[in-house]
């Protein structure tokens, strides 16, 4: 971890390359994203100037794309937790090249979730009233609390395993980068004392961040289910939203992994086996999502309570039927068809399935928010919602900005955790001993196996 390891350097050179230098291709990719971001910011200034009237929001649909984006982005943030924390706790070796990318997604996208809800406020200048005059009976305050807790926790959980890598990059960087990494690396030298502290910190955070993440999306779902609106007042919302979040998070992770693999030539580190494992998780989440959706809609249909039945009909056979069935195809039919079959469960196949899931999960949030609001209990208030160009521009700008920030992250920090990959290489004997201990019989000493190195 520390000290000169030049022989390994040439092996892992491709992991250091993006941090130490920038190709022209990066700027070619970043420029349109920056342009779209600026366009989205311009659209937002219009909203600040003229009020929320520039959106398509109205009565009764007073919540629209911004709230949908809020739920969607917070959902994507569950990528990092599942992969990083749970796989670390399970000591799954295949997590090693994935954890950094996952944790980075989480921390970055949480800011966009927060940003979405701030954009939805009629008076963003009074934002700090929430802190000054907050009431914890309001689900929005639960949101503030849990998202702050999660953001802090996942930032720490990103930073801690980053420290040894920062030391590695510090020793190879020059100029302002060297100063930056020296500052961030906290003087890491890989001493036993430092390693002990770091490992304890990571272990504690891995355990703690899981219930925090579950609480975040549960609390987000309670913004809806604590009201009396038809088909919102559902006890299943907590687990339903958490499942959907993990589902969309894994999909986002697969897409980002495939992108960095392609852009930075990381085929040797992000192998088909990694995509295969994540694809199987995505498949499992797709089935679980289907189960929850089916249970939710069957319950609404069977009881036939009038207000709920109207919303259900509007979703399944009425105005929102195209979106509903598109969501079912995107979230269930396509992913299961691609991922259940070993022959189509390739890297490319998993990216197609993931893209389908990301779009489908956005549609799912849309179908939770809009049909209910457009069909309130008192029938004279029926309405309709079509987003305006301002909302679409801001959404496009937010997505572009997120991708841009992610790209900048890969430029500043190694997107694959170098020290963990090396730890994996060096720790093959321990890993094998551990696996032997799972089998019946006493644990016999294992003949050392040489690291397999590059294939």
């Amino acid at each position: 971890m520390a000290g000169p390891v030049h022989t390994q350097d040439s092996e892992d050179a491709v992991l250091f390359a993006p941090v130490l230098g920038t190709t022209r291709r990066f700027w070619l990719g970043a420029t349109p994203l920056l342009a779209m971001t600026l366009w989205g910011m311009y659209a937002y200034t219009l909203q600040l100037r003229y009020g929320l009237g520039v959106t398509g929001l109205n009565r009764p649909v007073a919540w629209g794309i911004y709230i949908i984006n809020f739920v969607f982005f917070i959902g994507i943030s569950h990528a990092g937790t599942l992969i990083s924390a749970i796989l670390r706790l399970c000591k799954a070796e295949w997590r090693r090249p994935i954890t950094r990318a996952a944790e980075a997604i989480t921390v970055l996208v949480l800011f966009f979730g927060l940003g979405s809800i701030i954009m939805d406020l009629g008076r963003p200048d009074r934002l700090f009233y929430v802190l000054q005059y907050g009431r914890l009976q309001s689900p929005l305050l639960w949101d503030v609390t849990s998202i702050t807790t999660y953001l802090t926790g996942s930032a720490l959980y990103l930073y801690l395993p980053l420290i040894p890598d920062l030391a590695l990059v510090r020793d190879r960087a020059t100029g302002w980068r060297r100063t930056l990494y020296t500052f961030l690396a906290l003087g890491w030298r890989g001493t036993t004392g430092q390693r002990r502290r770091l490992e304890r910190g990571i272990a504690v955070m891995a355990v703690m961040v899981i219930p925090i993440a579950v609480s975040v999306h549960t609390v987000v779902s309670w913004v809806f289910s604590m009201t009396l609106q038809p088909m919102w007042k559902s006890t299943i919302f907590g687990p339903y939203f958490v499942t959907g979040a993990i589902f969309s998070g894994i999909a986002a992770l697969i897409i980002s992994m495939a992108a960095v693999r392609r852009a930075y030539h990381l085929e040797n580190y992000l192998k088909p086996v990694h995509f295969n494992s994540l694809s199987l998780l995505l498949l499992a989440m797709s089935l679980l999502w289907f189960y929850f959706t089916f249970a939710e809609h069957l319950t609404a249909y069977y009881g036939g309570e009038l207000a709920e039945a109207i919303v259900l009909f509007a979703k399944v056979a009425g105005r929102w039927a195209p979106a509903f069935w598109a969501m079912a195809v995107l979230n269930f039919v396509i992913p299961v068809a691609i991922l259940a079959n070993g022959r189509t469960r390739t890297v490319a196949g998993s990216v197609v399935a993931s893209a389908s899931v990301v779009v489908g999960m956005w549609l799912e949030r849309y179908l939770i928010v809009v049909p209910t609001l457009a069909n309130p209990r008192l029938p004279y208030e029926r309405g309709f919602y079509a987003p305006s160009w301002v909302e679409v521009s801001i959404t496009a700008g937010a997505v572009s900005f997120f991708v841009l920030l992610y790209m900048v992250f890969t430029k500043l920090f190694p997107i694959i955790s170098i020290w963990e990959v090396r730890e994996g290489r060096e720790g093959l004997v321990e890993a094998q001993e551990r696996m032997v201990s799972y089998l019946p019989g006493p644990v016999a000493p294992v003949t050392p196996v040489t690291p397999t190195g590059r294939r």
Partner: protein, 227 residues
């Protein structure tokens, strides 16, 4: 402690909407263009809902004035993150424009849809601007507003009563603008705790019902079924 409530006699309501106009005038409720109204941005604290059921000759038409229900268990107060929605000890649910951050959670929480949001800064045509009520605020953009039983009139009545060193009477001294304007006497307002008032008597009438009663919001606006 008084508990202010309203009884609306649907047998008497003619659907003339004098209450709607009076409310808009009294509370400086913003007007919007026809295009905005079509887009669902109309602002009517008090509104009259026409309902027509059935085919000729078995038609049933009903006009239902709908102010804020002023619930005893108001969902809007529960969900407000910044204490901008509050219920006074006398049961008046009102809104503090200076505190509102415009999150519109109260709009989503209310099952009756009585909360309205200022989608833009309100503008009035010149002649209406001269008719604005100086006793009540004009709201900025980005905040929510709703009927509060003309709470400013209660405060005024209380000041007047304090001069005579007594409390506001249960009925007659304090009436919201809609109640005052109704030409048919369909809106009856008063202290529901005071058994001598017409409002408290009619609230216990066998014709009395409340909207969405099974939700548990306990509204203080009672409707008298057509007899």
């Amino acid at each position: 402690m008084a508990r202010w409530g309203m009884v609306i006699d649907l047998d008497r309501c003619t659907g003339c909407q004098a209450c709607v106009v009076a409310c808009k005038a009294e509370n400086n409720v913003p007007v919007v263009s026809p295009a905005q109204a079509q887009a669902g941005r109309l602002m009517l604290w008090m509104t009259v809902i026409p309902e027509v059921e059935g085919e000729f000759p078995r038609v049933r038409a009903r006009f239902t004035p709908r102010p804020c229900m002023q619930c005893e268990n108001p969902p809007c107060v529960k969900v407000c993150p910044v204490q901008a929605m509050m219920k006074s000890p006398e049961g008046i649910v009102s809104h503090v424009f200076a505190r509102c951050i415009g999150c519109r959670f109260c709009v989503q929480a209310c099952p009756y849809g009585v909360t309205y949001f200022n989608w833009q800064a309100p503008v009035w045509p010149a002649d209406l601007r001269e008719a604005l009520n100086p006793d009540f605020s004009v709201r900025p953009t980005g905040v929510v507003e709703m009927c509060d039983f003309c709470h400013h009139r209660l405060q005024h009545a209380r000041e007047m009563a304090r001069v005579d060193e007594r409390e506001v009477r249960g009925e007659g001294e304090y009436v919201p603008a809609c109640v005052q304007a109704c030409p048919a006497g369909a809106l009856i307002f008063g202290d529901l705790e005071d058994s001598t008032t017409a409002a408290s008597r009619l609230a216990h009438s066998p014709r009395a019902y409340r909207l969405l009663e099974d939700l548990g919001t306990a509204p203080k606006v009672y409707y008298l079924k057509e007899g």
